[in-house]
């Protein structure tokens, strides 16, 4: 008996898993990434002649929990029209029964990769603020993301920031006129350890036994980790945003060349407040969190921390360095004139 080499077997396995888009307007181009419950392919929309991303369910079951969840993800995305949220174009079922949806093809990098090239802390914080804008918008529409982490944020080639992977989104309240969405909490996304490609290296999406725990360790709020779904509200996403903010300015989480950043007490305080274990002690809204980060960027005091007089003076100096130096120069000149010209 002749055995096939491992490489060939792997290749055959991959090909067997490739969905068949015949009968749709899409032509598959390449596999791009792997999401929580499906694989993402680059595809060509033959009717419009544009590149799109297709998220296709792993398994060919049109009426299973996973299929419902993917369709629901598409509908949740469809109600979130915002420049910071990837737009969905279409949803359907392939000939082999797999549910898919088409969305904008984002050419760019995941935040955790992109950030390695962003050496300026203010630039990183401005990226964070744009993530906050998208999440605040979703909250205003009554939607929780529940899986915010660097791997679920894409930064496009032109600097656009897009929050991706709304597969775990929870609908807090229905919008007037919107169709009610069921919330399939008890769905097992995929078995622990059965992870996919490179997308899973950082996030290792924690899968759920009986669907009680959905999210990512390190970014998941304590109430989410305990499976207390009924208690989840906007503050759960605020916890994840706090963890994401810490990731953005913690040298250990990024390239070692940025370790020169000092541990800033104000930023630490913002992260600490956002990631308080008791939701009542966190920021009450994403807008409050982003307002504090904006104040930090503007050299203003943050609400998360009371400053000492010395710290206030140091911050004042940092904010008005040039003006203070100019006034000092004027006073020095005046003093020198008094000392040397009018004795």
């Amino acid at each position: 008996m002749k055995f096939l080499p491992d490489k060939v077997v792997d290749r055959l396995r991959q090909n067997a898993g490739v969905p068949d888009p015949s009968g749709t307007r899409y032509q598959l181009l390449e596999r791009v990434d792997r999401g929580g419950m499906g694989v993402i392919y680059a595809a060509l929309d033959e009717m419009l002649g544009r590149r799109v991303a297709l998220k296709v369910l792993d398994v060919p079951v049109a009426d299973g929990d996973l299929a419902r969840r993917l369709s629901r993800e598409a509908r949740v995305l469809a109600r979130l029209e915002h420049p910071g949220i990837v737009p969905v174009h279409d949803v359907g079922t392939l000939a082999d029964g797999r549910v898919f949806y088409a969305m904008k093809f984002v050419e760019g990098q995941r935040l955790d990769k992109h950030i390695e090239a962003v050496t300026s802390l203010p630039d990183r914080l401005r990226l964070f603020l744009r993530i906050c804008d998208a999440v605040a918008f979703a909250h205003a529409r009554g939607v929780l993301h529940r899986d915010l982490k660097p791997a679920n944020v894409m930064v496009g080639a032109f600097g656009e920031v897009l929050v991706m992977d709304w597969g775990l989104a929870k609908i807090l309240r229905e919008q007037p006129g919107a169709a009610a969405e069921e919330d399939p909490e008890a769905t097992i996304l995929h078995a622990p350890g059965a992870s996919g490609g490179p997308a899973d290296t950082l996030e290792a999406t924690q899968v759920t036994g009986q669907g009680t725990v959905l999210g990512t360790p390190g970014y998941m709020s304590p109430e989410q980790a305990s499976g207390d779904v009924a208690r989840l509200d906007e503050r759960s996403d605020i916890f994840s945003l706090g963890a994401l903010l810490r990731f953005l300015f913690t040298p250990a989480a990024t390239a070692s060349s940025h370790s020169r950043w000092r541990r800033d007490k104000a930023l630490e305080a913002i992260c600490a407040k956002a990631t308080e274990s008791d939701p009542a002690n966190r920021y009450s809204s994403v807008s409050d969190l982003s307002a504090d980060v904006s104040r930090y960027l503007d050299g203003l005091p943050v609400s998360a921390r009371k400053e000492t007089v010395l710290e206030k003076a140091a911050r004042f100096y940092r904010r008005y360095t040039v003006a203070i130096l100019l006034i000092a120069a004027y006073l020095v000149v005046r003093t020198l004139i008094l000392l040397f010209f009018h004795r």
Binding site: V322, A323, L326, I327, A329, Y330, V333, R334, I337, L338, F341, H342
Partner: protein, 118 residues
């Protein structure tokens, strides 16, 4: 605060302070009132001119250079009228111009763009 108002206020205050510093020069202490009034008016004119410039030209470097030029020219004119004290008047006056030029560009608020409809 808009750039012209900021330039006006800053120029006036710094001009007045600049004039008051003459009190430390015993030779001119008797004319302190005239000096303060003149210096204040000089600062006011410089501040408004620099504020107008900042409104038209959005450039920190050009703003500072324009402030320096205005401060220098006005201080030179005052020194000419005094028939002396060139160094003592021109150097601080130029620095005041730089301060106002920097402040109007950095901290002054640009006028809001008019809303357009289609």
């Amino acid at each position: 605060m808009n750039k012209i108002l900021l330039g006006l206020l800053l120029g006036t205050v710094l001009g007045a302070v600049d004039g008051l510093s003459a009190w430390f020069t015993p030779a001119v202490r008797a004319q302190i009132v005239g000096i303060v009034v003149g210096s204040t008016i000089k600062g006011l004119i410089a501040g408004v001119a620099i504020g107008f410039f900042a409104r038209k030209v959005q450039s920190l470097m050009l703003g500072i250079l324009f402030g320096l030029a205005v401060g220098f020219v006005l201080a030179f004119v005052v020194a000419q009228m005094q028939h002396g004290y060139y160094f003592e008047i021109i150097l601080p006056g130029s620095i005041v111009g730089i301060i106002v030029g920097y402040a109007t560009q950095r901290y002054g608020q640009a006028p809001a763009a008019p809303a357009t409809t289609r």
